[in-house]
């Protein structure tokens, strides 16, 4: 991100001039960071939608995806097998891509012109709108898998419903995301079955992971006024999601926990910016480079 907003068209033009010819040195390292994830997509907010509500809603979904992407990527160099490390990083990449589009959309819809980088790197903890489920530390592999199973099932169901949303950008992110989340859900399901239906020890670890993450599920179904105005009432997802998770548990020989949801603080939780103590350190790591070198490009 730079202070003087260079348009992407100009960036492409300068790159083209710097390396003329179809076979020129037109390659550069990934991560140069100039690409607008919604390049050229119509930025208008459709009539009948409130821009502030749409922005707040995109921020909620984008923050869920961004924070869980960060948690998934923490498994790099720590996963039990190389293939799982690659898989978890792939899932994180999908979520990061969704987050980039949703945060960009939020900055357009509220009229602030804030970029994805402004929103990801320069907001404070209380300004993040993700549910607490995604910020919880990874725990052991079983806990991470249990969290992924719950999130992917719920987010897949939500994206299904949002694919017909009046905002074309949100609808497109959801339509793309529903198939990505299907792969996430399959991955989490396969591991839940493997561990739950494995040895008594692996089953006990999987059950413990599921039990530990369960109190964080309810928040995903608790409607915030913004969700009711701008999106889908998440309470309508509770039945289908719980039935789907219960079917996986039954197949895996696991018991569906019945623990109550983690209480809100004075009626406020993640969607209001009230988080657990786990979010601060996560954001510190996520934001440290951008804050140490404001406006840096490379």
């Amino acid at each position: 991100m730079t202070d003087d907003h260079v348009t992407d068209d100009h960036v492409y033009l300068s790159l083209a001039e710097a390396s003329p010819g179809p076979e020129g040195e037109g390659r550069w390292a990934y991560g140069t960071g100039f690409a607008d994830p919604l390049l050229g997509v119509d930025t208008a907010v459709p009539p009948g939608l409130d821009g502030a509500d749409l922005a707040a809603y995109c921020l909620m979904l984008g923050d869920d995806a961004l924070v869980l992407a960060q948690r998934l990527i923490e498994w790099c160099t720590r996963a039990p097998e190389l293939e799982e490390e690659v898989a978890l990083a792939n899932l994180g990449l999908d979520l990061l891509g969704q987050a980039r589009q949703l945060l960009t959309r939020a900055g357009q819809a509220d009229g602030s012109g804030r970029t994805e980088d402004d929103l990801a790197y320069w907001r404070e903890e209380h300004e993040f709108r993700n549910v607490r489920l995604v910020e919880a530390p990874n725990g052991d592999f079983a806990y991470s898998i249990a969290r992924l199973l719950l999130f992917a099932t719920a987010r897949g169901a939500l994206y299904e419903a949002l694919a017909g949303h009046a905002d074309p950008v949100l609808a497109a992110v959801a339509a793309r995301g529903v198939k990505e989340l299907a792969y996430h859900r399959e991955y989490a399901t396969a591991w839940t079955l493997r561990l739950g239906d494995g040895t008594p020890y692996s089953a006990a670890r999987m059950q413990a992971g599921l039990d530990a993450v369960w109190p964080l599920l309810e928040e995903l179904f608790t409607a915030h006024p913004v969700e009711l105005r701008a999106g889908v009432d998440p309470a309508t997802l509770r039945g289908p999601v719980l039935r789907s998770v219960a079917a996986v548990c039954a197949e895996a020989g696991l018991t569906v926990p019945d623990a109550p949801g983690l209480a809100a603080v004075g009626g406020r939780a993640g969607r209001d910016g009230v988080h657990t103590e786990a979010l601060g350190p996560l954001l510190a790591e996520l934001q440290v480079v951008a804050r140490a070198h404001p406006g840096a490009t490379w």
Binding site: A35, V41, G97, K179, T189
Partner: protein, 191 residues
């Protein structure tokens, strides 16, 4: 030529140039083979190329856009714009028959046509894909109605193959191995 929303076919000199740009991660395919190049329009002196990214997090989008921009300018088009089109989303069904042939030639098993990941949302039943599909005739068994065809090894043509991991070196590929020739290979997975 004017833009027609939703059309993916295109023609003309600008299309021909943009369609020949190789994919950064699968350079044996062009962006047109891959189905990423949705449309190219020419309006007055301005050429606009529309790209549909594959996965949400595909890191190659910026490079694709810059490559298309550079090739078009090098071909003499002065005013070039590259734009993203997110709707309809990309699907492996958009990979052309030519693209599938080139993938197989390069040792990458192409995706099955019409075999997207389905709706897959939280409310639909899961259908966990098998990690190994046996060719019924080769195994001397009756074919199961509706069962997907086995994945053919792009290296030896064998059909006794199995999935090692659904996630590989790029977002769009899975890791497989052939039990006939014992070689690992990559496969573009359906989405």
């Amino acid at each position: 030529m004017t833009a027609v929303a939703g059309t993916r076919a295109s023609s003309g000199a600008a299309w021909t140039v943009a369609a020949a740009v190789p994919d950064p991660e699968l350079p044996m395919l062009t962006l047109a083979d891959l189905g990423v190049l949705a449309e190219v329009t020419e309006d007055g002196g301005t050429v606009t190329a529309w790209l549909t990214p594959t996965y949400s997090g595909c890191p190659a989008v910026a490079e694709m856009a810059a490559d298309v921009d550079r090739r078009l300018r090098a071909a003499g088009f002065a005013e070039v714009r590259v734009r993203l089109r997110l709707d309809p989303p990309w699907s492996t069904d958009l990979i052309t028959p030519e693209g599938r042939r080139k993938l197989a030639e390069a040792g990458i098993a192409p995706p099955r046509p019409g075999a997207g990941a389905g709706t897959g949302g939280g409310s639909t039943p899961l259908s966990l894909g098998p990690t190994r599909l046996v060719d019924a005739a080769a195994a001397g068994r009756a074919a199961v109605a509706g069962a997907p065809a086995p994945v053919t090894c792009p290296l030896c043509g064998g059909t006794d193959t199995e999935e090692l991991s659904r996630f590989g070196s790029t977002a769009c590929k899975a890791l497989w191995r052939c039990r006939d020739c014992r070689e690992p290979f990559e496969r573009v997975k359906e989405i």
